[in-house]
Symmetry: C2
Subunit: 394 residues, 2 copies
Amino acid sequence: MHQAYFPYDFLSPRRIVFGWGRRAEIGPLARSLGRRAFVVCGSRTLERSGALGELLGLLARADVEARPLATITREPEVDDVDRAVAALRQAGVAEGDLLLAIGGGSAIDLAKAVAALVQNPQSDTVRDYLEGVGRGLKIERPPLPLMAVPTTAGTGSEATKNAVISCYDPPFKKSLRSDQMIPAIVLVDPELAVSVPPEVTAWTGMDAITQLIEAYITRKPNPVAQALAISGLEITGDAIVEAYRDGSSRDARQRMAHAALLSGMALANSGLGMAHGVAAALGVHCRVPHGLACAVMLPVAMRVNRPVREAQFARIGRALSGRRWPSQRAAAEVAVERVEEMCQAVGVPRWLSEIGVRREQIPALVAGSRGNSMNGNPRDLSDELMTALLEEML
Amino acid sequence: MHQAYFPYDFLSPRRIVFGWGRRAEIGPLARSLGRRAFVVCGSRTLERSGALGELLGLLARADVEARPLATITREPEVDDVDRAVAALRQAGVAEGDLLLAIGGGSAIDLAKAVAALVQNPQSDTVRDYLEGVGRGLKIERPPLPLMAVPTTAGTGSEATKNAVISCYDPPFKKSLRSDQMIPAIVLVDPELAVSVPPEVTAWTGMDAITQLIEAYITRKPNPVAQALAISGLEITGDAIVEAYRDGSSRDARQRMAHAALLSGMALANSGLGMAHGVAAALGVHCRVPHGLACAVMLPVAMRVNRPVREAQFARIGRALSGRRWPSQRAAAEVAVERVEEMCQAVGVPRWLSEIGVRREQIPALVAGSRGNSMNGNPRDLSDELMTALLEEML
């Protein structure tokens, strides 16, 4: 049985529209937010495949003027945000403007940051608003309304209230965060993920699964988030492996898109844990893509936390396997084993050296993992323990 | 394992704030929606206990001008809505106005209807906008923003997009419905329910449980709604019996307020079923309070639908009992038995004659139960079968 954790807060996009082919509804949905949409786009594949042109045509037919603002094909950096905000200010923001993000977590995060900063001009750089770096400025005025159209099943950024922004000099990967940054409308069309290559399918999918698991076992639990997280794990099943092997599988793409959305709704309202903590450090110090970093760290993060979350792990084991087990211990073990099998099946490396980590980087990784995500980890992990864990993974 | 039902839409209040004593936060929350709050209040107990005065004081301190608009102590009727809308129009609606509902489902429904109609003045009466009666007018312009503060753990109206409005001449009980009618902010303070008498605790609580069950087994399933519904049933456990016996139990009041909220989020995004269909007819033809009507009908509605929803009933059985059962059949039977035990423990009558139904009213009840709720029932129920079922309950 679920425990009930009170009190809690729950934030959600007001409207979620989910379904294969439902990008056809983009026009009226955008029109319900405004008349002019500044578009942040995530991938050139989308342009080449004609999907972007189709969406822009649908916007025009609904009397929404679409203006390209930015295209981003890697995780957004401070400069990307600052440049897009400056461009938008130059274009001149008016009543009836909205942001439209079409892409993976990078595009959605960039759009969220731009929507917030263009309305909060106390500084010219997003850095001053990021957690733990800069001047600690806050998002006070409501951002421009944002509609998110995710094209990878991964980060769940379409349902969260933060945007993750990186910098490599000095190295940090931090969140711009505000309750007001949650997208107003989310349009999930799993068919848009059909063209995502297997490797990206694997990494983004493992990011979603990591979020579902960490939001479920976190030390900052929320009863609504946990209900959504466990249902996401139940629905996932073998979908990530199926989507990896057959990118055109409608069933697998639907399940993964749904799981990713639920993972965003869950993490927006609860904590995360060690896998996400270390993933941020792997991103800035070793340039490991976020999903891959989460995937590599997840099995270890599960083994470390299992002793203090046996009942939750048992529930995860039942959810992932779709069956019962003779004991709580057996079900909890199944949770970890299933995740290890998934990682193996979709080609996630087991060792940090395989993703380019060198022994001398470990102190920086340990220090860099102490962000907001790590605060949600069930166990307190000392620097000594973290160092030992990472060294064992070399 | 959950099945995934695609496509789906999911609407939710943007912000939910849940916790014992958190009414203290009402001021800034209301202020985030506007400067002047028209208050619809549900019960004179709230006034007498001083709770209302406390809330109005908190609003004033947050620079929100509170204006009493209506107090309603029974389910809202067409005239109640029309009168409140006229009063609000006379007061003059301005930028920065919001509606604030403090009460049970009746007060929240009345406030939702008023917020919508005052912005949509094509007719002077709500009747013209109700489903299945009147002229079929639609809510086109966005309603005034609404903040809902539920004081009974029951209808879940704080999270739904409809307002149920009754009329006794001619007799009907129909919904005013629009995606735009969902409250913007929901503030649930379970402590506000401490003064609710046992009988009302029982009826409103059984309404919530009926909603969780009907939204879970409905023929219009939604994967997010089902995840929330089953988690509500898991958390409920014995809470309704405990809240009935000891109204000051913090644990029981919290669980029931949470279950009621989840039931609203679930039903706003899925169908209901036979218990709610007949409850509407019992309301207008026999003046049976909504929660009591649901409670009386729930065991019968479960027995009727069980043959076509054995797996879902088994899951409900496990959720309500908090344990496993040797077979799906046994778990499904437990679901019905547990609900029957709950009904008995909180004094719900078993026979329709005990709530004033006469044999000659049955044809009108059968005809009057064919509303939107009944369309979600798992089984098609012919008039003959419905008549037989209700006659057996006399």
